[in-house]
């Protein structure tokens, strides 16, 4: 692109970012504080921000895993749950909770709400933005807490950290599995697709667009363009002027999307283990289809929901069994870069 073209794009993106921030500002009225413990947030605390709905089954493990990694405080928006999620969250000592009954889709899938909370509370903190069905892992996560990761990132002047969303699935039909809240979900969801990912660079936001995995293989083989995006930038040293653009796939300013090395080397990166396919997914996807809150043009995804409702077996003989992060690193699904 020409120099003037670059400048024009930069200018447009600057305004886009301001628009997104303004949107978040307007949407703040949709949030009602349920339990505000943000006074507990200490400087240097690592925060986790999330929007969720009816996640009572996933929550115990989700909170437990990320607490162990070293999350200092959770900022959570509850979108009209009716399964006790709200009460459960309100009882947690390190959770600040807001609730809203407004549209998830119109809030850009919860991002507007979170952007507001991040403006308010995450400025100058490292902030991990996740869905309730994403479990964050990174190289050495079993021996080094998040504080070690973020201080290493700061020493290396990185403000953002990339991850691949890895869809985990069971062997056998989805609803034939048994899961109790608090269990390790990967005892059931022990399998993943090891090497069928497709990457394109998106010049506008300078991010990578990764698709593939089991959902592309099973549900979108006839229309791969629609296969879900798996690239994410969940961990960011937040500034109140930042804004996620679409889910946590990309954000502004553009430089934060450059979580990859384009000269041949490997930067460090992690994986979001996706627990979407726990047994309750069948019921949930029926509801999601009805609500039409999860995709921008929902009708195109009816087939996907129908396939899911059919209780499929996603496992195939070439599936890989999850062992640990070292395995993911060796397979090239994440990288430790030069973090010895």
């Amino acid at each position: 692109m020409s120099r003037s073209g670059n400048l024009a794009l930069a200018y447009r993106l600057r305004w886009k970012r301001r628009r997104l921030l303004f949107r978040a500002l307007r949407k703040r009225r949709q949030l009602r504080p349920v339990q505000d413990r943000t006074a507990q947030i200490a400087p240097g605390d690592i925060l986790l921000a999330s929007t969720m709905r009816n996640e009572i089954i996933r929550l115990p493990h989700f909170l437990d895993h990320h607490r162990k990694l070293g999350i200092g405080h959770f900022l959570i928006v509850d979108n009209d749950s009716d399964d006790g999620t709200q009460g459960y969250l309100a009882r947690q000592p390190d959770v600040s909770l807001w609730s809203t009954r407004h549209s998830y889709r119109l809030s850009r899938f919860g991002v507007d709400w979170l952007t507001w909370l991040q403006i308010r509370h995450a400025h100058d903190h490292w902030c991990l933005t996740l869905d309730a069905d994403e479990i964050f892992v990174y190289p050495h996560h079993d021996t080094r807490p998040l504080q070690a990761l973020v201080s290493w990132l700061e020493q290396n002047r990185c403000r953002s950290f990339g991850a691949l969303m890895l869809d985990m699935y069971p062997k056998g039909r989805l609803s034939d599995q048994a899961y109790q809240p608090g269990d390790d979900p990967f005892a059931i969801l022990g399998w993943f697709d090891g090497g069928n990912y497709m990457i394109q660079r998106q010049p506008k936001l300078d991010n990578l667009w990764i698709q593939g995995g089991v959902r592309a293989r099973r549900f979108f083989a006839d229309d791969p363009r629609r296969a879900p995006t798996l690239s994410k930038t969940p961990l960011v040293k937040w500034n109140r002027r930042y804004a996620y653009v679409s889910s946590t796939h990309s954000l502004l300013p553009v430089r934060l999307n450059h979580v990859y090395d384009d000269q041949g080397g490997e930067k460090m990166s992690g994986v979001l283990l996706h627990t979407k396919f726990l047994p309750m997914v069948i019921e949930k996807s029926n509801e999601e289809k009805k609500r039409g809150e999860h995709f921008a043009n929902n009708a195109l995804y009816d087939g996907y929901y129908d396939d899911l409702a059919g209780n499929p077996d996603l496992w195939c003989e070439a599936s890989t069994r999850l062992i640990n992060w070292r395995q993911l690193e060796a397979m090239g699904l994440m990288s430790k870069g030069n973090w010895v």
């Binding site: 807490p145 090497g195 293989r217 384009d262 041949g264 990166s269």
Partner: protein, 565 residues
Amino acid sequence: MRTGIVMLVHTAFDRAEQLARHWAASGCPLVIHVDCRVPDTEYTAFVTALSDLPEVRFSKRFCCEWGTWGLVAATQSAAQVMLDSYEDVRHVYLASGSCLPLRPVQELLDYLDARPQTDFIESATTADVPWTIGGLDSERFTMRFPFSWRKRRKLFDKYVALQRRLGFKRKIPDGIDPHMGSQWWCLTRATLSAILQDPNRQVYDKYFSKVWIPDESYFQTLARKYSNKIESRSLTLSKFDYQGKPHVFYDDHLQLLRRSDCFVARKIWPRAQALYDAFLTDQAHAMSRTEPNPGKIDHIFATAVNRRTHGRPGLYMQSRFPIEDKINSLTCAPYSVLEGFGDLFEDFETWLSKATGARIHGHLFARQRAEFADGKTVISGALCDSAKLRDYNPTAFLASLIWNTRGERQCFQFGPRDRQKISWPMAKDPNAHISVITGAWAVPLFLSGRDFDDIRGVAARHQLAEIKHMEILQSSWSKARLRVWTLADFIKAPMEPLQAIINEISLKDSTVVTEVPKMADLTGFGDFLQKLKNQGMHPYMMGDFPMPGDPADTPQPKRKTYQVK
């Protein structure tokens, strides 16, 4: 005689205090320098916390920004305090607040006692070692660096470029020969006081204050002038990454650090509780009195730097996606592409797989589906045979296939009937070993017995596709290893090429072909080609086929067993 510790501290004061007590417990006097940027309250609290130790002194505070003179000034003044306050100190060990003694301090003291005259300081000339950060080696001694490398990188780079263009050079003072090395040293009183009392010290100080990263060159250079006995190595294990930043050690490095046999290591993460517990409190593990041997763990750091700067070739992922001209090869390992063989020989894949023991795929880029070996619909890495998924990103498909099957040679068929988008990526990939029999696509047409008008159209399409494909393979950008025969040439002497392909594919070195694949019956093929010509479609990719009636148009040798020895 004793060993004194000069400790530079700028953060993590609780750990610094713990270390000071550890050194002091073994009878080492300490002089501590605290960075001037530390707030006074924190400084005072630190001083108070250590006030019960009689042999701890604090030296004048300087601002120690990385790569600037402040670090040297701080060291100088602290060393002076050490030499003045403790007459019985014979060695001075320079350490930091994030250093950690790995072996009992007594072992270090004994080691130094046994070498009373030796200075341990890494010191090498820039001409001889490739330690360059930011592209500078000897120039760090001959240029000026008024701008911070960390904070004002662009200005720094521009100013360096300007000086290069103008040919600017500072004069190196007489009597010194610039050396550099690790910042962490252990010098004898004799050497250190000679450096500090040098009659030319003002000249040297003035010169080095404008050198880039003087803490890696001031003492390293001047020690060369005065020392009687230099051991050019640091007693502190300190590893740097490719940007000159120190590697940090965590709890899980415990065994690694023990294995190094080094006396002291840096930099330790302040919250690495297990390391502090193990090395500061547990003296029982005292190791055999071996020489420090950081070399034992070097490869781990070398591998890490290599992974960060070069990565794993053929891998594409969320944190490695090289732009096209930064990759040498698309894929991670060599693979074979066979074009035309499947058309000419019956059941070629089975034969080849038997002859080589390798996994031989069919047409991976066929229009209907990716024809994986053994009719599989999904193979390693859950790569599936859907044509749409494959065609959505054929490059990713090929790179993934080769990556997923690392350690097992891949081989597949290709031809003008297949999707052609992969031609360019394959041609530019030096790992692609492509063998082509041009024009062989006509054989199945010839054998099909279809309506001739149909055949004519199909033949024209195939020939066009093959011409384009061959242009790409033979273009100047092509890096693939290429072998091409025309059909006519190939059938005259098929054994040699087949043997070559088998040698290329099979893991065993000397597989000798004993059984030939069955070649299609080409009787009348010349006629067929002539008929195409008569229809105005000139098939020329097959080479010079004998005309019908030509005496050379004898049936090709078939089903004859060749023995190639």
